[in-house]
């Protein structure tokens, strides 16, 4: 441990009490990675924050000593965003689990950052409300992590991402100050710093309280499962539905390999012999839904669906979703190891990109299972390999990287929801120019001039914040407020 870090440790033991500090090497090891488990770094020190003051104290001590720090929520991130710093402090907000307020009339809830995503919806349920962003990890991931990653879920096609549902955040900035960005009102004058903070992957500060918008539960929800011969046919159905002006709550696609895995894991009973299935969900006012749902079935049939199953009740709906939701983990049944890729393409490019992926897979002998958010073109190719076979992991990595190339070549993005983290920082220059990245880092320099807040994430090369002329702008004054 560096002398600076041990000084920070001493300060924090004095101020927060030894029970909030983890410094035992074995215990520290349990924090060495997030959901991206192949990259591990044992943190120098862990602080288990109970409230905003703890977070401010921890960040303040780091700032004073010039020691790096990283925030961590539930640690389910898939891009290594919460990967610790070996000579730094990992500030865990998972214990900050209080739901401060649920206010149905204002349509909002105020929660601490460690609150689990699904618990917000549970707290809102008695009022017929829910929290719309629903990552597949919603039973375990925290709101603080969601804010940092701008997380989405199957239903963000219609309802949008975290950025559309968070109206306020209390933030401890990297110099240890506590500021409030946004609030319960729909807008505030000034720069939209909240908009910049959401999705910044823990590099602009640590949020200690979040105000979220709650969404009315839909009057009616209809879900169907459609079996197609091929991903081409299923892709055509997606285009036909969207092209008809329908905005479904969700459209998810799984290919044959993903279906095989889900079948092996949970026996979801998807149509036998399907080359692809679509899960389509329509929600909204009853009369609206009935009409639209009929149209969706028409489109599926016209595009060659050989079987359409309509969920008759909640049970059947859960059954349809079970196959989809289990797919990531289920792939473990058909392959000892796999890489979860996350890329985005314009949805009209789906058939072409899926075909190119099939060719890529055939040429390399690496199997790729596809399960993804088809409605918004967010692919999650699962690249399968057997880690015991020499060179297999490298080949899988190559295929995984080539898939990102496909996304970029089609005008897409290298990540739709899992974030850049450490995993994809090296890919950023494939999507952005030096000036693009440099400009983004101006924001970082404004929040974190010392570069101590989650360093090494998102950007391949850190910008030296340097000395911006800090001359005092005498003219930058405002007329006195009259109270």
């Amino acid at each position: 441990m560096t002398p600076r870090l041990s000084a920070v440790g001493q300060t924090l033991r004095d101020r927060l009490g030894a029970q909030r500090i983890v410094d035992d090497p074995t215990e520290l090891e349990t924090y060495a990675c997030d959901g991206l488990a192949n990259i591990r770094v044992r943190p120098g020190l862990v602080v288990l924050a109970e409230n905003a003051a703890d977070v401010a104290a921890a960040v303040g001590a780091c700032a004073d000593a010039g020691v790096p720090f990283v925030a961590r929520g539930s640690g389910t991130g898939l891009s290594g965003g919460a990967l610790p710093h070996a000579e730094g402090v990992l500030i865990v907000t998972a214990r900050m689990r209080k739901i401060v307020a649920v206010d149905p009339d204002d349509g909002c809830a105020v929660v601490q950052p460690g609150v689990i995503n699904l618990d917000v919806t549970r707290a809102a349920a008695p009022y017929g409300l829910h929290y719309a962003p629903d990552p597949s990890s919603q039973q375990i991931c925290s709101i603080g992590g969601n804010v940092a990653e701008n997380s989405g879920g199957a239903h963000c096609l219609k309802y949008g991402f975290t950025a559309h549902h968070v109206t306020g955040c209390s933030v401890v900035t990297p110099d240890g100050e506590q500021v409030r960005l946004g609030g319960r009102a729909a807008e505030y004058p000034g720069y939209d710093l909240l908009g910049a903070f959401i999705g910044s992957e823990g590099t602009l500060g640590i949020t200690t309280e979040v105000t979220v918008r709650l969404t009315r539960d839909a009057e009616s929800v209809r879900t169907l499962l459609a079996g197609f011969e091929s991903t081409d046919d299923a892709g055509a159905a997606v285009s036909a539905i969207i092209g008809d002006g329908v905005v479904p709550a969700a459209i998810e696609m799984m290919d044959a390999l993903a279906i095989e895995a889900a079948e092996a894991a949970v026996g979801c009973g998807y149509p036998a012999g399907a080359g692809a299935v679509l899960v389509v969900e329509i929600d909204g006012p009853l009369a609206e839904v009935e009409h639209t749902f009929a149209a969706v079935q028409e489109h599926c049939r016209a595009c060659g669906a050989f079987e359409i199953r309509v969920a008759a009740d909640d049970n059947e709906r859960t059954l349809i979703w079970r196959g989809r939701k289990s797919a990531f983990a289920a792939v473990g049944r058909i392959s000892p190891n796999y890489i979860v890729q996350d890329g985005v393409i314009p949805r009209t490019a789906l058939p072409e990109v899926l075909r190119a992926m099939t060719e890529l897979s055939a040429a390399s002998g690496v199997r790729v299972a596809n399960v993804f958010h088809a409605g918004d073109g967010n692919l999650h190719p699962l690249v399968l390999f057997d880690g015991r076979v020499e060179g297999a992991e490298e080949r899988a990595e190559e295929v995984s990287g080539a898939i990102l190339d496909l996304c970029i070549a089609h005008g897409g993005s290298i990540t739709g929801e899992h974030g850049v983290g450490v995993d994809k920082a090296k890919h950023m220059p494939r999507m952005f120019t030096d000036d693009d990245l440099d400009t983004m880092q101006l924001v970082r320099c404004a929040f974190d001039p010392a570069g101590i807040c989650n360093p090494g994430k998102v950007f391949p090369t850190p910008r030296l914040c340097g000395e911006v002329p800090r001359v005092h702008h005498a003219e930058e004054t405002t007329p006195a407020e009259i109270f």
Partner: protein
């Protein structure tokens, strides 16, 4: 590149003008003005150059009205890429034949209210439209942006796909920045299908409290409206709810709404005040927690008019030569409901008597952002919060 000009921006004289027609033109101008230490004020159609405070200096008027054109309308992807000087009306006209719309820029049958301005001006001024209840503001629909920095560097963020978390979202920072952070030259928006059918239900309201109660009732109902607008004149007003959807579904929803609102609620044509700017030489913009709207309305003098989204607690307030005390009082009422009131437009006397923006939390962070992007304060200096 620069021509002499005798124009003015909000009363501040201009020395030169430039009319770039491409992003690289804009970059050339900004490199030049950086070298010459000239202050630059962007202009789209010039309709809102008096929003915010007058700039401290405006050496160069950067006229973006020549930077026009739809770059790409990817109808199948519901995405539009457009240059910043393009009139919003062109956006509407381009999308309509494809049965699509940018939910900011809609012209409903019977609507008179504004659809002026350019794409860049709309991003920089961030005006709220009546569909914000369902679709949000510019920030919620802008998925990619090209911006030229004060030093002439060109940067992009976001992209042309709806779902994308690669890198920081610079677009959000530019929304409402009134030209103080960078010059937007191109924008990419998420589009929505134009609904098949539209209906409006309106009801008169007699008090601020009633307006709030009805807005809350609508929030708890299954009507799923696109707009919940209020027109307030003096001590009462009208609430008008826009319902959109498939032809077969709309009747059941409007019937439910009429029942829910009660009283004189009825299905009507789009009211003539829909999206019309409020009258008055002073326009305030207010946003409060939705349940606080009633208190704000009740605090307004009878001479005031207000219009906006009752469902979200955001309104424009129109006044004639208001006293500083009145603005400060309204601001205090709003602050009690986690919101604030700021001056969008006002005569010089009003702007001198009261801080246009009021106390802004996180102002020092905003200053730091400004210093990073524009350390020499050459982009619309003094125009924004805290004299940024």
């Amino acid at each position: 590149m620069l021509t002499e000009s005798s124009d003015a921006v909000d009363g501040v004289p201009v020395r030169y003008a430039a009319r770039p027609t491409s992003t690289s033109d804009v970059a050339d101008v900004l490199r030049h003005t950086a070298a010459e230490n000239l202050a630059v004020v962007a202009r789209g159609s010039g309709s809102k150059l008096s929003w915010g405070r007058p700039p401290e200096r405006a050496d160069v008027l950067l006229d973006l009205s020549g930077l026009t054109g739809i770059v790409d309308h990817a109808a199948g992807d519901l995405v539009l890429r457009v240059r910043a000087g393009t009139p919003m009306s062109t956006v509407v006209d381009t999308l309509a034949p494809a049965g699509q719309r940018l939910a900011l820029a809609t012209r409903l049958a019977g609507q008179r209210g504004p659809l002026g301005g350019t794409v860049g001006g709309t991003i920089a001024a961030n005006p709220p439209g009546p569909l914000r209840y369902a679709y949000g503001m510019v920030r919620d629909l802008l998925i990619g942006v090209t911006v030229v920095r004060a030093d002439g560097a060109v940067a992009h963020s976001g992209g042309a796909v709806v779902k994308n978390v690669a890198g920081y979202d610079l677009g959000k920072l530019l929304c409402g920045s009134l030209g103080t952070l960078g010059i937007v030259t191109e924008a990419v928006f998420r589009l929505h299908p134009t609904p098949e059918s539209t209906a409006v239900v309106a009801k008169t309201v007699g008090s601020g409290d009633e307006a709030t109660r009805l807005a809350v009732a609508i929030r708890h109902s299954q009507v799923a409206p696109s707009g919940v607008e209020l027109n307030w004149t003096g001590s009462g007003g009208t609430i008008a709810v826009l319902v959109e959807g498939v032809a077969g579904g709309i009747e059941a929803r409007t019937d439910a709404l009429v029942g829910l609102l009660g009283g004189d609620a009825e299905i009507t044509a789009l009211p003539d005040w829909w999206h019309e700017p409020v009258a008055g030489n002073t326009i305030l913009r207010a946003a409060v927690a939705p349940t606080g709207l009633g208190a704000l309305l009740d605090a307004m003098p009878d001479s005031a008019v207000a219009r906006g989204c009752a469902g979200l607690g955001t309104v424009h307030i129109g006044l004639i030569n208001p006293s500083a005390d009145l603005i400060v009082t309204l601001r205090k009422v709003a602050q009690a409901h986690d919101g604030t009131v700021w001056v969008e437009q006002a005569p010089a006397a009003v702007r001198q008597a009261v801080d246009s923006f009021g106390p802004v939390p996180a102002l020092s962070l905003m200053r730091r952002v400004k210093r990073q992007f524009d350390p020499d304060r050459r982009l619309s200096p003094g125009r924004f919060v805290g004299g940024i």
